[in-house]
Symmetry: C2
Subunit: 363 residues, 2 copies
Amino acid sequence: MCKSDEIFMQKTIALAKRAIGRTCPNPLVGAVIVKDGKIIGEGYHKKAGMPHAEVEAINSVKNKDDLKGATIYVNLEPCNHYGKTPPCSLAIERSGIKRVVIGMLDVNKEASGGAEYLKSKGIEVTTGILEEKAKRLNEVFIENKTNKKPFFVMKAAMLLNGAIAVKGGVSKWITSEKSLRLSHRLRGMYDAIGVGINTIIMDDPLLTCRVGRYKQPKRIVFDVNLRIPTSSTIFSKLSSNIYIVTSPYAENSKKRVLDAMGVNIIECDIKNGEFDPNVLSEKLLENDICSCVIEGGSRTHGYFLKHNLYNKAYLFYAPKICGSYGAFNVVGTDAPTSLNNVNMLKEMDCKKVGDDILIEGYF
Amino acid sequence: MCKSDEIFMQKTIALAKRAIGRTCPNPLVGAVIVKDGKIIGEGYHKKAGMPHAEVEAINSVKNKDDLKGATIYVNLEPCNHYGKTPPCSLAIERSGIKRVVIGMLDVNKEASGGAEYLKSKGIEVTTGILEEKAKRLNEVFIENKTNKKPFFVMKAAMLLNGAIAVKGGVSKWITSEKSLRLSHRLRGMYDAIGVGINTIIMDDPLLTCRVGRYKQPKRIVFDVNLRIPTSSTIFSKLSSNIYIVTSPYAENSKKRVLDAMGVNIIECDIKNGEFDPNVLSEKLLENDICSCVIEGGSRTHGYFLKHNLYNKAYLFYAPKICGSYGAFNVVGTDAPTSLNNVNMLKEMDCKKVGDDILIEGYF
């Protein structure tokens, strides 16, 4: 490992990030081809079904002779299986590339083994360059493959004492314009936004990403009894990216109405009066929802925290505080009786966002 | 005004800070005497009844002839009245000092007028040097004189959703060792610590400052019905600095018992079933409590917020979150029905303190 390995690996990560929020169920991957210390080719995986980063990079080199003896940098181990595209390990071997530098090994057993294959073909393989960064980049993919569930993000805007709405449910607007813009950016970075049915009824949100050049996220409503009014604002845009998670016992006539509107209905088993968290995760993954920002409300955050479903939190605090009696707290579920039974955050950090403070962390 | 004026003014502020938490009911004042660009004398006000900073600085100059034509820097306008000590304006005039540089004018009408007096005697007076810093330094004194109330500080250690205790009331320990040390340091920086009777009954705290070389703060318990058990841990140390605020209707026999223990009983009028906030402020000031850190619990923070008594907040957030149903929220009072009626913080900022995050701000 040398300094320049890290520099080129950093470049692969930057390339990979261009497709943030678009590659599900695939990982974010960038690749850079270097010869005599110079970048001669680069590419990244743009979308599932499109060529892998390694192939994009190889194709970007006009004179294929230049590939002889070159080094390829890639943040994730090249795949070794025939999926929607042929194995990248084979493409690399055939190109004449003599060294492969890898950020992290693949956690997806189906596709892994590329490093071993390449070594067996006499190609020099270096692994673990900027490994932590490579893993952070693909935290969604790792969660999907390791724990068979979407990467769930808790997002909330609240007062300093955890209130997301005052008495009567008023919650607009707690945080400042700058925080709202940032939370719209978050919507674009993940596959989906999810809210509980009470949020739909009380706030009637549109749930689109309204900043920048991000793609529109899928919109999920958790609605056990299918109470959603068909007049909800959410239906005013593109119903085909709306997913309503409901129980098998919800009214069939309502299901048919929503189905006719182009909405996707996901039926999820009920366990102890709530969605079975394992089935919920499975059904969302089946619908190519690899990551989801949960925006509340109170009961929905309570459900995800209670079942330890959250991976990450973005908590926006406005410079405000108020009485708690009758307010809606961000976590609407029973408190534990011991401080040992609370949900813990790791790597917690804070920064100012306009007038507000954003606290981030991992569960 | 020149750059060196600011440098010397900064020095007066640094000197003044040495007496933090000890000068009540007086302000924090430092003074520096400069001749030919060199500091020839300095001093600060150590405690009420002790000499003022200007006099300390003048006395520190051995050869009084050196004072002729010198400049004195002082963060607060020199006093112009006979209080416990003679006016500093007179001492300056008599010393032969030819220029006086002042941070902020005195807000205390009784003592102000020093600048005008000195000008009338032909001494050059410059005001407003580092005025904002000078005002920040004496925020307690300014609050006392301007609003006739102590400077009240809200201090709380909580979970990310505002819980200060889980179901059943357990609150030890929410935050980390490092935050605990910092909150002990806060105890030493203000005149007093205040808690509600429920905190005494549930947590049984000692309420002393257990770090550094700070003085011990006065300890206040807000206890309308005088429910405090005489076996409380708080009584295990120096009862003479304990102040129990109670109603005129509390049991006389209990008052006598506490009185015999050396505890100070402050009777405060009741209005709408609570302490009258104006009377409370007045009584505390009468007892030389110019600043007070309120450490809770829930109901006590609720009372101080409801009556807009708080000046500043130190809110410690542990990397933890839990259900709110049955937990104790930091603000135990009714929520408003409009976001326009919440308490607002200004100049809010955040930083990491060990594993926790500290959010500070002014009300």
